[in-house]
Structure formats: structure tokens, C-alpha cells
């Protein structure tokens, strides 16, 4: 009897120890889940209607997301800190949409390697909050947001090596695979067209194809865009055209030139800046349908972007030396953020800075000691 009693006491003690441990573990696990799913929400910011630049400053182990007025981009406000695997900064969607940005990032603690699964986050600039949406994204493939900011698409690589384009409804957080391809070099989400279908490119040994896929439908080829690697894709604000650069041989050099595809029943390709020789960079749409295009510098002077508006080609404020690569127009198009390079072109790019070109021929450098990553614009 005494033995049984002692046994009961022992078992009670063991059970109590185990329960206590389990409670501690559950508490810790709950804490981890809560903290990792919703990053440090902050009170809503008082953001003015003035054009405001949103960008991240790279840090070795964490990036800081900042906002700053276009007139004074060095007057910054920190809105979010994004920890990441050492050396690997966040990779954002090309533009902010309705105050939202999405980015992929390698979380701290995973192998600091481009092959590791990245997390996909949604940033709401108005509330300065970030929400994790997925943990299976490809780091190098930037996600894209629809024009209304209600949907995004990102890329993931399956265990088989095939790549999938995944649609995320930001209201319901539901995810659906739109398209999977295991035979091409890779898929690249570009944006959404005016019907809400995802536009994406596909690299094959034959070159670059542009395709579209609507939710619930099979992907369809729009056209073969280039026999080479076409890059710097961007979708027009109304979703009825896309711009990109593709390489061609010009005076015994390979240069990239801008092309525009008008989407529709009979897609057509135009070269709106064909009269300009030399390397071109990153055609970027303004809200009114104009395009800013970067160009390499000449031997003697710096070259700013050119604005193509119909048949009109207007140069923007040029640097004394170096060249600019457009990143994004402010919402109503008064300011253009660019990457400014001190060198002469792709092969000798020199140092890079983030810079805002404003009205009245102003060029303001965003001061920093580390890399700046453009996220987009808010405000008017």
C-alpha cells in the first residue's frame, strides 16, 4: 500500500513537472507564432498628402523602412524594422499600391543563401504594420501587387524544382496557385492587366515570352517578346500596356532598348525611344501614360532620364556626370525616384545613390552610408 501511495505521489509529481513544462513550451510557442505572424504593429502615422518617398535602408542584419517628404528626402521617419538573415536585404514589389508594399525576405536564423525559403510580407505604410503572408517564397523574385492593392502574386519553387506563381487575396489571405511550370528556365511575375489577370514572363532557350493567367484559367501566351533575356518589365497604370528593355546589337555593342507592348486582342510591339542610341534602362510609367527611361552617360557629360510622352521626348534634369535608372514616379507624377550611378554605363556603373528628381530641375540625393532600397511613393 505504501509503495502504491508513493508511486501515485511520484506519478503526480512527474505529471505536474511534465504539465508545467508543456505549459511553458506552449506559451513560448504561442509567443513565437504571435510575434512572427505580425511584426510590431505601430500606431497609425500622421502621413501628409504631400508626395512621400518610402524606402528601406539596408542593414547587415535588419533593414529599416523609412518615409520622407519628396522635398526633403533626408527628413526621415522610421516606420518598420525588418530583421533578416545576415547580408540578405528585403526584396520589394516594384511599386507601392494604395499604401501597400510586399516584399520577400530571408528571415533571421535560416541559412544565409539565396536558395533558402524566403518569407513574404505585406507592409501597410499607413499603419506602419507588416503581416507575414507566406514562408515559401523565392527570395530573388519580387512579388507584384494588383492595381487596386487587393491581390498580389509571388513565386515559389516546389520540391520538384518546378516554379509556381501564387495569387494571394489580401482580404481573405487565401492563396491559390495560378500557374506551375517545370520546363522553362524560370517564371517572373510582372503585374496585373486591366482584367485582373496576372502578367508574367517565361524564360526558355528561345528567349522571353509574355503570358497572362486569370484565376481559374490556364495560362495563355500573349507574345514572344524577345529571343534574348528581356528585363525591367513594368505595367502601365491602367494595365493595358507593358514596357521592358531587350538587348540588340548596335554598332558592334549589345545595348538594351525600350519596347512597349500594347495589350489587347492584337498585341503589338513598339520601340518608343528607338531614335535614342545607346543603352536604356528601366522604363517607368507615369500615371498619365508617359514613360521615363534611363540612358547611359556620354563620354563627356552626365545624362538624366528621358520622358517619352507620345511622340515627345523630353530630357529630365541631368547630373553633371553619371546616369540615372528610374525607379518610380510619385503618385501624380511630380517626382521621379532614380538610382543614380557615378559611372558611365552598365559595365562601369560606379557608385550608386538613391535620388529624387523633382520639378524645377531639382535633384536631391538621399543621404546614406549603406544601400537604399526603393519601395514606392505615398501621398499626392
Amino acid at each position: 500500500m505504501a509503495l502504491q501511495s508513493r508511486l501515485r505521489r511520484l506519478l503526480r509529481l512527474v505529471s505536474a513537472s511534465a504539465a508545467l513544462l508543456a505549459l511553458v513550451a506552449l506559451g513560448a510557442a504561442f509567443s513565437v507564432i504571435v510575434r512572427s505572424g505580425q511584426a510590431d504593429p505601430r500606431p497609425e502615422l500622421a502621413i501628409s498628402d504631400r508626395p512621400t518617398l518610402v524606402f528601406a535602408e539596408f542593414g547587415l542584419n535588419a533593414d529599416e523602412i523609412l518615409i520622407a517628404p519628396a522635398e526633403d528626402p533626408n527628413d526621415r521617419t522610421l516606420i518598420q524594422t525588418v530583421p533578416h538573415a545576415s547580408g540578405w536585404g528585403l526584396n520589394p514589389s516594384p511599386q507601392l499600391v494604395n499604401g501597400r508594399s510586399a516584399y520577400t525576405v530571408l528571415p533571421a536564423g535560416v541559412t544565409p543563401n539565396r536558395n533558402s525559403p524566403a518569407e513574404l510580407w505585406l507592409l501597410d505604410v499607413d499603419t506602419a504594420s507588416a503581416t507575414r503572408l507566406a514562408r515559401d517564397a523565392d527570395l530573388l523574385a519580387a512579388p507584384v501587387l494588383a492595381q487596386d492593392g487587393a491581390v498580389l502574386a509571388y513565386r515559389r519553387t516546389e520540391g520538384s524544382g518546378a516554379q509556381s506563381l501564387v495569387r494571394v487575396d489580401l482580404e481573405t489571405r487565401t492563396r491559390r496557385v495560378l500557374h506551375t511550370d517545370g520546363s522553362s528556365f524560370g517564371l517572373f511575375p510582372v503585374g496585373f492587366d486591366d482584367d485582373g489577370a496576372l502578367l508574367f514572363t517565361r524564360l526558355t532557350p528561345d528567349g522571353t515570352d509574355l503570358l497572362r493567367v486569370a484565376d481559374g484559367s490556364a495560362a495563355e501566351l500573349i507574345l514572344h517578346a524577345s529571343d534574348e533575356i528581356a528585363r525591367d518589365w513594368s505595367v502601365a497604370p491602367d494595365g493595358d500596356a507593358v514596357a521592358f528593355v531587350a538587348p540588340l546589337l548596335q554598332a558592334e555593342r549589345i545595348v538594351h532598348q525600350t519596347q512597349v507592348i500594347a495589350l489587347g486582342d492584337q498585341p503589338s510591339v513598339e520601340a518608343p525611344a528607338a531614335s535614342l542610341s545607346g543603352e536604356q534602362y528601366a522604363p517607368t510609367w507615369r500615371r498619365d501614360g508617359a514613360l521615363a527611361i534611363g540612358r547611359e552617360a556620354t563620354d563627356t557629360s552626365g545624362v538624366g532620364p528621358i520622358v517619352v510622352d507620345g511622340a515627345n521626348l523630353s530630357p529630365m534634369a541631368a547630373p553633371s556626370s553619371g546616369f540615372d535608372v528610374p525607379l518610380g514616379w510619385s503618385v501624380v507624377g511630380g517626382y521621379l525616384a532614380v538610382r543614380h550611378f557615378t559611372g558611365s554605363g552598365s559595365q562601369s556603373a560606379g557608385e550608386e545613390t538613391l535620388l529624387v528628381i523633382g520639378p524645377a530641375v531639382s535633384r536631391v540625393v538621399v543621404e546614406t552610408t549603406s544601400e537604399l532600397i526603393f519601395l514606392g511613393w505615398i501621398g499626392a
Binding site: 505504501a2 508513493r6 511520484l10 506519478l11 509529481l13 512527474v14 513537472s17 511534465a18 513544462l21 508543456a22 513550451a25 513560448a28 510557442a29 533593414d63 540578405w88 536585404g89 528585403l90 526584396n91 536564423g109 535560416v110 541559412t111 544565409p112 543563401n113 539565396r114 536558395n115 533558402s116 527570395l139 530573388l140 523574385a141 519580387a142 519553387t157 516554379q163 528556365f185 524560370g186 517564371l187 517572373f188 514572363t201 524564360l203 526558355t204 532557350p205 528561345d206 534574348e228 533575356i229 528581356a230 528585363r231 525591367d232 518589365w233 546589337l249 555593342r253 549589345i254 534602362y281 535608372v325 550611378f341 559611372g343 554605363g345 552598365s346 559595365q347 556603373a349 552610408t369 549603406s370
Partner: protein
């Protein structure tokens, strides 16, 4: 025969069970994000971390680049590096450019053998990434599963994980093997210079391959014209101010060659402004075309990017080499230990100190005879005379022996711990006696005889 169970014994028994449960819970939480198993999982070896200015490691890199560490070894020695144009490759000297090798080491690990928690000039946890990259060169090949007898790590794996000289030598051999993959498996860089391995620029594809010869659009793409990588790109400055996300691996390495890391105001190595291929030139652009990225990549052969730079082969004397490798000897402080499983906290573990009465860095591994004995770390380093080790605990390593109570065959059991070294002669055996006088049994505990 006891009529009553002492409270301390009950508490001790519960403590042992709780420890087991805690180990299970913690083990589950500590599981890596990726489903990898590495050579030493679930434990981590320890290693010696040298000086903050990386003087020892730079010296090791010099010796490895010129095959002066383990030239006789088929695993750690360099192979003959092939030279000549496609179709006429012949064996050349066993050497790799030290400029490329040390820059790879910096990109991989910032030239550290230990994890971030391991201080310089001390012994601590080894650097093991979740994809099983080990040490300075983040050697992954051959480190993903234990390859020794009885499911244990092999002596080569132990050396790679715990010995800086072996780790760097293995990384150099892997780099040389990437070079030798051309022309059968990889393209040739330097088709106009006879594929000379003495030109740093000709190592473009071998460097790319060290991280994976991946094509455009792949998740791990290192293709320089991949649309996912920023274009144009300023040079990688190698100082922690730029994200690696926009750069192919080989440009990270070239960037670190040109922009040496700095400590105390001093560059850690001489800057070399190696030239990257100019993709505005058709001979380089065409090599990177989508149609060219097709096995065996013959269309990707390129001339040497100009201006080219010749490697400066380091000089390592026989005496310097001997000092690096040393003459380690295995020593232990006891041949028998005891564990009182239900004793005081001091009694529930045993410790064994592994020393190196010789010179250089001793690598060792500890193997238990029975499943109920747990040795941690399972492998490590101990430093001998001539090696600076200033932190507490130096120059020896302490092995902690604990028991897994669920595997105890009886309340009194014994086993042995065997300590071997891949770079020192002899074997040490330590007898471990375990006392676990539980009078009652509960699930997960042993029974009294």
C-alpha cells in the same frame, strides 16, 4: 529494503524524467527550418577560432592555395589543375589563385571556423549552417550525412568540421574540382589565353560553380543577366553596406577581392581589381544567352576578361607549413568517470577534458559505446603550444557526458567513450559507470533489478 522513498530521490527521479521531456520539447523547437540532416546532427562540434585579424587563416589559405597542407591526401590535397584550350587540356600544377580562395572564404564565413557565439582565440561551437555548410569554406559536399562506420561521422568529416587547415584545404580542392569540370561539364573561361589558371579572370566559372552553376530564373540563380538581379550593378563593396540579394555569387567574390575587409584600419589582404566579363561585348553576351545555357555549355566559353590579372602565388616555407599543421597529440585527464543519475546536479553529468600536449590544432571525436551515453560536443579541437588561445577553458576542450534515462538497461550500467583523432595518433578510452538507483518505475525510467 527501503520502506519509504526519500523525497530527494523522488525529486531526482522526476528531475531526470523532466529533463528527458524538456530535451524532447527543446529538440522539436530547435529543429532547423529546412529538413536537412548534417554529419553531426543533432549535436554540434566545437572548434578553435583563431585571431581576429585572421592572420592564421590567411596563412592557412596561402598554404592551401599552393597545395602545401596535405598534398599526399586524395581528400584534402589539390588535384592537378588542368590547363589548355577546350579539346587539349593537360594536367598543370596543383594550385588555385589564393586571391579567389580567400575571397570565397570571406563571402562564405567572413573567415571564421566558429559560430558567432565563439570568440576569437577560443574554443566554442563550430560554424554549421542549416544546409550543412561547415567552417571557413562552408564545405557542404560530403557533410550532409554521417559517412563513417555505424552511422557516425567519418574522420574526414571530423577534420572538415573541427580543423581549420583541413577545412580550407577541402574548400580549395572543391574549387579546383570546379575548375577541372571544364570542359566536359562546364564552360571554359580564357579560350584566348589557353585557359591559363594563373589568370584570376579565368576562374569566373569555377567561382560561379562553387555556389552552384545555376541558370537564369532559378531560385538560386547566379546567372549575371538574370532579370531578378539588379541591373546595372555597382561593385560589391564587401563591407556589409549592400544587400547580397542583387548580386550573383561570383560578383560577391570579385567584390571582396577588390575591396578587402578591414580590421583595425588595416586591409586583411591586398586588393585585386579583377575584371568581370563585359556583357556589352558580343563575345561575352553571347555566352550568356539563354540558348547557350545548355549542357555541356560549350557555347558559354569566353575569352579572358581584360585587363587580366595574374595570381601571385604565396610562398610558404616548410617551417611555416610545419607550424601551421603542428604535431598534435591526444591527451585526456581521466580514464574513468561516474554518473549518479539521481544524484546532485554535479553528479548527473561527467566531464572529460581533451588536451593537446603536442603542437598545432588537434581534432578529435568522441564515440559512446551505448545509446544511453550522450557525449557533447561529439567532436572538437584542442590546441597545443604555439597556438594562441586566451579565452577561459583554453586550450583544452571539455566533453560533457550525460545519460538518456529511457535507454538505461538497468539501474547500474557501464559503457565506454572512445576518443579518436584524424590528425593525431592513438586512441583514448574512458570507462563510464552509471548509477541510477530508482526504487520505483514510471514510464520512461529504468527499473531496479
Amino acid at each position: 529494503m527501503h520502506n519509504s522513498l526519500p523525497r530527494s530521490r523522488v525529486i531526482a527521479s522526476a528531475f531526470v524524467v523532466a529533463l528527458g521531456l524538456a530535451a524532447i520539447l527543446l529538440g522539436a523547437r530547435a529543429a532547423p527550418h529546412e529538413a536537412h540532416a548534417c554529419a553531426f546532427d543533432p549535436l554540434r562540434p566545437s572548434t578553435y577560432e583563431a585571431d581576429r585579424l585572421r592572420e592564421r587563416y590567411l596563412f592557412v589559405l596561402d598554404a592551401a592555395a599552393t597545395d602545401q597542407l596535405y598534398p599526399e591526401s586524395s581528400y584534402f590535397g589539390l588535384p592537378a589543375v588542368e590547363v589548355g584550350p577546350r579539346g587539349n587540356r593537360v594536367s598543370g600544377p596543383a594550385a588555385v589563385p589564393v586571391e579567389v580562395l580567400r575571397s570565397i572564404g570571406w563571402v562564405e564565413s567572413t573567415l571564421t571556423m566558429g559560430s558567432r557565439s565563439t570568440k576569437f582565440e577560443s574554443i566554442g561551437p563550430a560554424l554549421v549552417s542549416f544546409d550543412c555548410g561547415h567552417g571557413i569554406m562552408q564545405v557542404t559536399s560530403g557533410m550532409t550525412v554521417p559517412l563513417g562506420a555505424s552511422g557516425l561521422p567519418s574522420s574526414n568529416q571530423i577534420a572538415v568540421a573541427t580543423s581549420d587547415t583541413h577545412n580550407v584545404a577541402r574548400g580549395a580542392r572543391i574549387l579546383a574540382a570546379k575548375w577541372n569540370d571544364a570542359p566536359g561539364l562546364r564552360p571554359v573561361a580564357g579560350r584566348d589565353t589557353g585557359g591559363a589558371p594563373t589568370l584570376i579572370e579565368n576562374w569566373y566559372y569555377a567561382t560561379w560553380s562553387y555556389n552552384g552553376f545555376t541558370g537564369p530564373g532559378s531560385k538560386q540563380s547566379n546567372h549575371p543577366l538574370d532579370p531578378n538581379l539588379g541591373w546595372p550593378r555597382s561593385e560589391y563593396r564587401c563591407n556589409g553596406t549592400q544587400s547580397r540579394t542583387r548580386y550573383p555569387y561570383q560578383e560577391l567574390v570579385y567584390g571582396c577581392m577588390a575591396n578587402p575587409a578591414e580590421r583595425d584600419g588595416q586591409d586583411l589582404w591586398p586588393a585585386v581589381q579583377a575584371t568581370l566579363p563585359d556583357f556589352s561585348q558580343p563575345q561575352f553576351f553571347n555566352a550568356m544567352r539563354l540558348g547557350s545555357f545548355s549542357f555541356p555549355y560549350r557555347e558559354m566559353d569566353i575569352p579572358t576578361p581584360q585587363p587580366a590579372h595574374r595570381t601571385v602565388a604565396p610562398t610558404v616555407s616548410a617551417a611555416d607549413r610545419a607550424a601551421l599543421i603542428g604535431s598534435p597529440r591526444l591527451g585526456i585527464d581521466s580514464t574513468s568517470v561516474a554518473i549518479q543519475a539521481n544524484g546532485t546536479p554535479d553528479q548527473v553529468t561527467a566531464t572529460i577534458r581533451v588536451a593537446n600536449p603536442g603542437t598545432g590544432v588537434l581534432s578529435w571525436s568522441a564515440t559512446a559505446s551505448d545509446g544511453f551515453l550522450i557525449v557533447d560536443p561529439p567532436a572538437g579541437s584542442a590546441v597545443g603550444s604555439g597556438i594562441v588561445c586566451t579565452a577561459a577553458g583554453c586550450p583544452d576542450t571539455e566533453i560533457t557526458v550525460t545519460i538518456n534515462p529511457t535507454l538505461l538497461p538497468a539501474s547500474r550500467a557501464s559503457g565506454t567513450i572512445t576518443i579518436n583523432s584524424p590528425n593525431a595518433p592513438g586512441t583514448a578510452t574512458i570507462r563510464v559507470q552509471v548509477f541510477a538507483d530508482f526504487e520505483v518505475a514510471a514510464p520512461g525510467t529504468s527499473r531496479s533489478p
